[in-house]
Symmetry: C2
Subunit: 489 residues, 2 copies
C-alpha cells in the first residue's frame, strides 16, 4: 500500500486532564457549579461517608469548545474513581511522535474549503471515559493517563484500512484517487478478503486491542509503579460520524433519543457473565484448585443434598436439567450471591476491567485474573441515522449512579433539568449531570441518606457524564454527511 508523506492522519485525542476540586478557586471552573458543589449537604455527605479527599470534578477546561462545555460531575470521590472528558482541539503537538504525522494515500491535497474542514474533522476522535477503581487508585489513574493514547495508536494502526474504506464508501471524487492494488488472479484462498471488513469492525478491533494492551501495561508495570487494585472502564468515542461505546465493567451508558432510552452497554457482573465464567472453569478446571464448583444450582448445595435430585445448569446449557447431587457439587459455587451482591469466587463483584493482576481468593493462591478480563463489549450508534435535538444526549455513569437509579429514572432526571434551561445555556449539560449525582446521592433525613422515595441513597462513588449528541455530530462529520453536501453543491 503506497503512502504519501504530505497529509496528516487526523485521528485525534486530548492528552490533558485538569482535575478541579470543589475547594479549588480555579477561575476556569463555573462558579455556579462550584457553589453547588460546596453546599453543606455535600460537606456533610463527605463526612458521613468518611471520604478523605474533596469532591472532585475533572474537566478538560483548557480546550473545551462551547458545545462540549463541562458536562461531567463526580462527587464523593475517595480518589478511587476518575473520569476524563475530551473535546476537539487541534494542537498537533498533542500527537505522539511518529504517529500524528503519519500520512495517508488518497486524501485530497488542499483542505481549505468548507468541505475540507469536514475532511479534517472526520478523523478526529473525541473521547470520554469513566474508570471506577477499587482496592487502590493505581489502575484507574494509569488508565486515565494512557488509554486514550493507546486507542489513538491502535486506530492509527488501521488508518490505511480506514482510509481505503473511506475511499470506497465516501465521496466519489475521492474514490478515483484511491489506488487499488491490481487484481491478481490468485487462487481463491490466497485472495485478500480484508476489503469485506467494514469500518465498524476496524474501530471495534482497535478498542478491543487497546483495552487488552492497557491491561497488559498495568500488569507489566505494576511492580515498578506500585500499582494496586483495579478499575472498570467505560469509554465512549466519537469517530467518523459514529459513537462507539466500549465497556468493561459495571459502569453504564445510555442514550436518550427523543424520549426513548437506548442502552449502550451491558453490566459485566458475575451473574451477567455466568456462562463465560462457567465455560472457562469447565475447560480449565485446574484454575479452580478443586475449591469451587462450576455448575449452577437454584440454591446453595449442602451436605444434606448429597444423593438427592436437583436442577442444575452446566456451562454449555441454555436450559436446566436434573442431576443427583454428589460431594463435588457441595463445593463453593463459582458465582455466588444475588444481584449486586453476587461475587466471582467469593471475591469480586465485577468481571471485566483493568488491573487486579495479584488478586487471589482470600487465604488461597487461586488467581482471579484469568476470569476477570479487560475485553470490552463495543456498541455502535450511528450519529447520522437520526436528526438530533438539543435534549438528545449520551449519559455515562458509574455503578454508584445505577445502583439506585433505573435507566428511565436517569433519563427523566436529565430531561427535567434540560427542559428548565435554555438551549444556549452553556452549563445545561453539566447541570443535568450534576442533578444526576445529586439525585443518586440523595438527601440527609433522620441521620440517613435517602432518595426522594425514602429508599436508601447510593453509598458508592458517583460519576455522571451528559453529552449532547448534536455536538457529537458537529464534531465528527461522517462520509455520508459529506456526500450529501457534495450532492447539494
Amino acid at each position: 500500500m503506497q503512502m504519501s508523506p504530505t497529509q496528516s492522519c487526523r485521528l485525534h485525542t486530548p492528552d490533558d486532564y485538569v482535575f478541579v476540586s470543589n475547594n479549588d478557586e480555579n477561575d476556569d471552573y463555573p462558579s455556579q457549579i462550584r457553589n453547588q458543589c460546596q453546599s453543606n449537604d455535600d460537606n456533610q455527605f463527605r463526612r458521613d461517608h468518611r471520604l478523605l479527599s474533596p469532591c472532585q470534578c475533572e474537566v478538560d477546561t483548557k480546550n473545551c469548545s462551547v458545545e462540549f462545555g463541562p458536562f461531567l460531575h463526580q462527587t464523593n470521590s475517595d480518589s478511587h474513581q476518575t473520569g476524563g472528558v475530551a473535546a476537539d482541539y487541534s494542537d498537533e503537538n498533542a500527537w505522539p511522535d511518529g504517529v500524528a504525522r503519519e500520512s495517508l494515500h488518497g486524501v485530497p491535497q488542499d483542505l481549505d474549503s468548507e468541505n475540507d474542514i469536514n475532511e479534517k474533522e472526520r478523523w478526529l476522535m473525541t473521547y470520554f471515559a469513566v474508570f471506577d477503581g477499587h482496592a487502590g487508585t493505581g489502575a484507574a489513574l494509569m488508565a486515565v493517563n494512557l488509554l486514550h493514547h493507546i486507542i489513538q495508536r491502535h486506530l492509527c494502526d488501521v488508518r490505511e484500512e480506514l482510509m481505503r474504506r473511506e475511499a470506497v464508501t465516501g465521496d466519489p471524487h475521492r474514490k478515483s484517487s484511491w489506488q487499488c492494488e491490481p487484481m491478481v488472479d490468485l487462487p481463491s484462498p490466497y485472495r485478500d478478503r480484508s476489503a469485506s471488513i467494514d469500518v465498524d469492525s476496524l474501530v471495534i478491533g482497535a478498542l478491543e486491542t487497546a483495552f487488552k494492551e492497557m491491561d497488559e501495561t498495568i500488569g507489566r508495570e505494576r511492580t515498578t509503579y506500585q500499582i494496586q487494585g483495579g478499575c472498570t472502564a467505560l469509554v465512549a468515542i466519537v469517530f467518523n460520524g459514529k459513537l462507539y461505546v466500549a465497556n468493561a465493567g459495571d459502569s453504564r451508558a445510555i442514550i436518550n433519543l427523543k424520549g426513548k432510552v437506548i442502552p449502550m452497554s451491558e453490566d459485566f457482573t458475575p451473574l451477567h457473565e455466568q456462562r463465560r465464567l462457567q465455560t472457562l472453569a469447565y475447560l480449565k478446571p485446574e484454575l479452580l484448585h478443586n475449591e469451587f464448583c462450576h455448575l449452577q444450582f437454584p440454591k446453595r448445595v449442602t451436605q444434606t443434598d448429597v444423593g438427592r435430585s436437583m436442577l442444575y445448569r452446566d456451562a454449555d446449557m441454555t436450559g436446566w436439567s436434573v442431576k443427583t447431587i454428589t460431594e463435588d457439587d457441595t463445593k463453593f459455587p463459582l458465582v455466588y450471591g444475588e444481584g449486586k451482591r453476587a461475587r466471582l469466587m467469593a471475591t469480586i463483584g465485577v468481571t471485566r476491567g483493568f488491573g487486579d493482576h495479584d488478586l487471589t481468593v482470600y487465604d488461597t493462591s487461586i488467581r482471579i485474573k484469568p476470569f476477570l478480563i479487560p475485553l470490552p463489549q463495543v456498541k455502535v450508534y450511528d450519529l447520522t441515522a437520526e436528526s438530533h435535538e438539543p435534549n438528545d444526549v449520551l449519559i455515562l455513569g458509574s455503578d454508584g449512579l445505577w445502583d439506585v437509579m433505573t435507566n428511565s429514572q436517569a433519563q427523566e432526571t436529565v430531561l427535567q433539568t434540560l427542559l428548565q434551561l435554555d438551549d444556549s445555556d452553556q452549563l445545561r449539560y453539566m447541570s443535568a449531570a450534576f442533578q444526576l449525582v445529586l439525585a443518586a446521592r440523595g438527601i440527609r433525613q433522620d441521620e440517613m441518606w435517602q432518595l426522594k422515595d425514602g429508599s436508601q441513597a447510593s453509598n458508592d462513588d458517583i460519576t455522571a457524564f451528559v453529552v449532547p449528541l448534536c455536538a457529537c455530530v458537529r464534531l465528527s462529520p461522517s462520509p455520508r454527511n459529506d456526500l450529501t453536501v457534495s450532492d447539494n453543491s
Copy 2:
C-alpha cells in the same frame, strides 16, 4: 415432593419407524406418491449419482392420524441419511418400563370430560427428526432408534418440576391441588429458587442433555456395534402447546406463518461457529498439536507474509485489528475455506452432531471430537400465540435441500403445492414435501441435473418434512388454551 401412584405421566413418543422404499409394494404407502417416486427421472437420478439403495421414504404408516398423514419424503438416499416421523398414539406399551407409569402429584383424578382429554394430551410429546449421516450409517441409525426415548426420559426426569409449574401457571382449579412446600425461613442463599426456572428452560434442558447422552451412548457402544461415522441431528417436538426445535448440525427448520418465514434453526458450520472453535483452541492450544493456527486472517497466510502487517481476529474479538505476521501464523488455519466448502481443521464441514468419536485429521492423531459437539441450539415457537391456517407449516430439511434453495424458495415451493390442493386432501403436506425434494433434485437436461433456473441441482441427500401447525396445536393443547376453555364454561 410427594407423588401419587394413580396418574400416568403422559409424555409420549413413538417407537416404530416403517421404512418404505419406492419399490416396495407396501399397501400402506399411498400409490399416488409411490408412482411419483418410481418415475424414470428418479431411476436415472439414482444411476447418475451411483446410489446403491433405492429411493426411500420413511413414514410412520402404522399410527399416523389424519392430520399427521405422511408428510415426509426423502430421495436419493445412500442409507447415510435417515429420518423419522411420529404422531400421537396412545399405546401405553410404547413406554419404556418404569417410565410410562410414573405419576404426578396434583393432577385431577378423573379425566373423562372434554377438558380432561386436553389434560391427557397436554403431556404428549410429538416428535420429528432428520439425521443426516456421513462416513457410515451407524450414528444416524442409532439416533433414529434411540433419541426419542432419551428425550422422553429426560422430560420425565423433570416431570415434577413441569407439573409444579403447570399448577402455578395453568388452571386455577388445579392450583389449589398443588401442595407447595411450606416456606421455611432459611437464609437467602439456601432458599430454593427453582420456581423461577420456567417450563421452556426445563424442556430446553431436557433436549440438551438428551443430545449429549445420545452422543455419549454412540461413543460408548461404537466398538460393540461397529458404529462408524457421524450424523447431524435436527429434532422438532410439539409439547405443552409449544414447538421446540433442537438443532445440532447443518439441517434447517423454518416456519411459514401467513406467508412470512420464521427461521427455527441456525446452520452449525465451521464459519458459523468460528468464534466457539477459536475460543476452544485458544484456551486449550494442546488440542491443535502445533499444527493449526487459531487466529483468523482475511487470506491464507504464506511465508512471504512473515514480517508484514495484516488484519487478524483473535478468539475473543468482535472486531479486527492489525498484527505483524510471524512463523506461527503461517500454520494451517483452524477454519479454512469459503461457504459450504469451509472445513474444521481441513476435515469436516459441520461442527455439531453425533458420533465421529474416532475421527482425526488425515494422517495425524489430532482429534476432531473436542471441537465437534452434540449440543443443540433450541428455538421455541409458541403455538398458542397465533391462530394458524392450514398452510402455516413447519418445514424441516437436510442440507441437500438448503444447498440449492433459500428459505423463501422453499416456502414458495410448499405454498404453491398447498394452494393447489384442497384443505381436506390427506396427501397435501406429503405432496408439498415431495415437491421440495423434486425441486432440489432438479431435472435432467443435457446430461446434467439442473434446477429450474439452469443452475446445478443438489448432489446431496435430500430430506424434507412439511408439518401443519394447526395439527400441532390440536395435538398439544396448552395450559393457556385450557384456561380459556375453563373461563368460558
